[in-house]
């Protein structure tokens, strides 16, 4: 495939290459993995003071992995398509020998003794892990402001949030600190950061990517997935990390959809001709920023112009997705986070010989968890308690069924559903920290896909005219039809990239780097 974006040159150019183009340069021997890694480490050194996308940078480990990949290439070993390409990993995936904090004080300094399956697959494919990215504590949040280690800043405007919970991964991409990143998505934590940073983020079908080593927040919703600056890059990464894992009992034992071919097909002429696209009536209108709605509508027109059949589809239960989610996710989290008890790993507070284990647990959790985590644990505890269970958790589970039924009925009529990814563009840091409900609304459009376990992704569709910030185009496809996301995303990218001069991140303003 011809080089779509950029060209290789100096170190600054290396960090602006797509993963796909960098991989080709590596394969042709024009650049080594060590050079590519050094360029990204230098970029992190230069801009991460301003962005704070990373919680931990593993320069030595990254260079050692790069050396190993270069040696394997020199020896003529068969290497995967992304071998030697650097990647950033959200700090919720365990990494053997590398700190894993989940953005929480309760895990500060913890070094896991094992790799998540996703991380093992990155290593096996020869990717170079640069480090761990910032996130809302235990993936609870939509702005990365809930990180115990300070917020991440949006490269488009450093006074604004980069989304969350995976704001670090998204900012690392938009800030050219890494061409690829791993995220996790429980209610939108890959897609919403993708939308507000002008990058691509995909939540695969639930069970499509192993959760082994993904520190659990809400086990029936959590899903790891790829993030990148281009659609093809995300597809290449998706192919590396997806597939059955016997270590995750909820992992789907079926062939992975051919997402890379779909990305290539979508970018070709007539790639989406005849595809049936349904605009979700309930995900728009009041409460949605005018500039977001305008960009979204323009993108729908682009797809119609490419020959897709566009119509409106109603999903009447989606209005109840947000309340159902904010009962189900806290309920599961109140159970999952019980493991952080200060006994076997992580923080322990107040163990002075006079206090009981129970008192030490309460002190440890009181000091180790931040406000949002505490709120959700208590909401979940309340929703699961005797007398309230049926009205709250039980009813939320029924709403979950209705949302799945809405999707099933919609996918009888159309191949994919679309909406804006988020109701607004990136909001200012600090604007919603004291208003949990306002923060929760950032996930209005992304949550239904998690509740139903289907595949969904966010793709850049341009800048909002009212504030000049990126807008995300949200595509939802049936379970195990992840390839359709890439088909549509690639078609949109191919149609719009010429007006941007490359991927949308080409337009990110230069960061003011201190000398």
């Amino acid at each position: 495939m011809a080089s779509t974006f950029g060209s290789s040159g100096g170190a600054d150019d290396l960090v602006r290459l797509s993963a796909s183009d960098l991989a080709q340069a590596l394969q042709r021997g024009e650049v080594s993995a060590v050079e590519a890694t050094r360029a990204h480490l230098a970029r992190i050194e230069a801009v991460d003071g301003a962005l704070h996308a990373f919680l931990h940078v593993d320069a030595d480990g990254a260079l050692a992995a790069a050396v190993a990949t270069d040696q394997r290439r020199a020896a003529g070993d068969e290497l995967g398509p992304l071998a030697g390409v650097p990647i950033a990993v959200k700090d919720v995936m365990t990494t053997r020998g590398m700190p894993t904090t989940c953005g929480s004080r309760i895990l500060a300094g913890w070094v896991p003794p094992y790799d998540a399956t996703v991380v093992s697959r990155l290593h096996a494919a020869g990717l170079v892990v640069l480090g761990k990215t910032n996130m809302d504590e235990f993936a609870m949040g939509s702005s990365t402001e809930n990180s115990a280690f300070g917020p991440t800043r949006n490269p488009w405007d450093t006074t604004r949030i980069p989304g969350g919970s995976g704001g670090g991964s998204a900012a690392a991409l938009a800030g050219f600190e890494a061409p690829l990143a791993i995220g996790t998505d429980t209610g939108g934590s890959i897609r919403q950061p993708g939308a507000v940073t002008g990058t691509v983020g995909v939540k695969p079908t639930y069970g499509g990517v192993s959760r082994y080593g993904l520190v659990a927040f809400s086990s029936s919703l959590d899903q790891a997935g790829p993030a990148a600056r281009t659609v093809r890059d995300a597809a290449l990464l998706h192919a590396v990390i997806a597939g059955h894992d016997p270590r995750d009992a909820t992992s789907i034992d079926a062939p992975v959809p051919d997402v890379v071919s779909a990305a290539d097909r979508g970018a070709a002429a007539d790639g989406i001709r005849g595809l049936r696209i349904g605009v979700v009536r309930e995900l728009g209108g009041e409460g949605y920023q005018a500039g977001v709605q305008a960009r979204f509508a323009a993108a729908v027109d682009v797809l119609a112009g490419l020959g897709a059949q566009v119509g409106e589809v109603s999903c009447p239960s989606f209005g109840y997705a947000l309340p159902a989610y904010y009962l189900i996710a806290p309920s599961e989290c109140s159970s999952n986070l019980a493991r952080f008890d200060g006994m076997r790993y992580g923080l322990r507070v107040g163990d002075d010989g006079t206090r009981s284990a129970e008192e030490v647990m309460a002190l440890t959790r009181g000091q180790g968890f931040g406000a949002e985590v505490k709120r959700r644990i208590m909401i979940g505890t309340y929703a699961l308690s005797s007398g309230y269970y049926e009205a709250y958790y039980g009813q939320a589970q029924k709403v979950r069924t209705l949302i799945s039924r809405d999707f099933a009925a919609a996918f009888e009529q159309v191949d994919v559903l679309v909406s804006p990814t988020t109701p607004t563009t990136a909001f200012p840091i600090g604007e919603r920290v004291d208003d949990p409900l306002a923060m929760y609304k950032a996930d209005l459009c992304t949550i239904p896909a998690n509740l139903a376990g289907i595949a969904a992704g966010s793709f850049p569709c341009g800048l909002s005219e009212d504030d000049g910030l990126p807008v995300g185009f949200h595509v939802m496809a049936p379970a195990m039809a992840d390839d359709r996301l890439y088909l549509v995303g690639a078609a949109l990218e191919a149609a719009l990239a010429s007006s941007w001069g490359g991927p949308l991140t080409t337009l990110v303003p230069d960061l003011e780097v201190p000398p």
Binding site: V111, P113, Y114, Y206, G207, S220, P246, A249, T250, I252, S317, Y320, P323, A324, Y326, L327, S334, A338, G342, M343, R344, Y345, G346, R348, D351, A357, E358, E359, V360, M361, A362, R365, G366, Q367, F369, A371, K374, R375, I377, M378, I379, T381, Y382, A383, S385, A391, Y392, G394, Q395, A396, Q397, K398, V399, R400, T401, L402, S404, P436, L437, L451
Partner: protein, 99 residues
Amino acid sequence: MTAISPDEVAHLARLARLELSGDELRRFAGQLDVILGAVAAVADVAASDVPPTSHPLPLTNVTRPDEIAPCLSAEQALAGAPAREDGRFRVPRILDEEL
């Protein structure tokens, strides 16, 4: 929907093993009240005949072959322990002295 008082927050915090300050109890009471008021909207859905969904995949009894495989060593398992003694996790007392 009844308002959540600081006393009720204290009860939830005890159940969840969260030591909270008085300031936190007051702040969370207001916030939990707003959140629970909003999520109570699920009650508006007529769903008495709808089965609940607890998980997106209809899986039951996923098993693996019962085979011996490598696992973490005691040293690896203890590497992150806040306190250890004789190759074990050392924990605060779990029973009251009078028991």
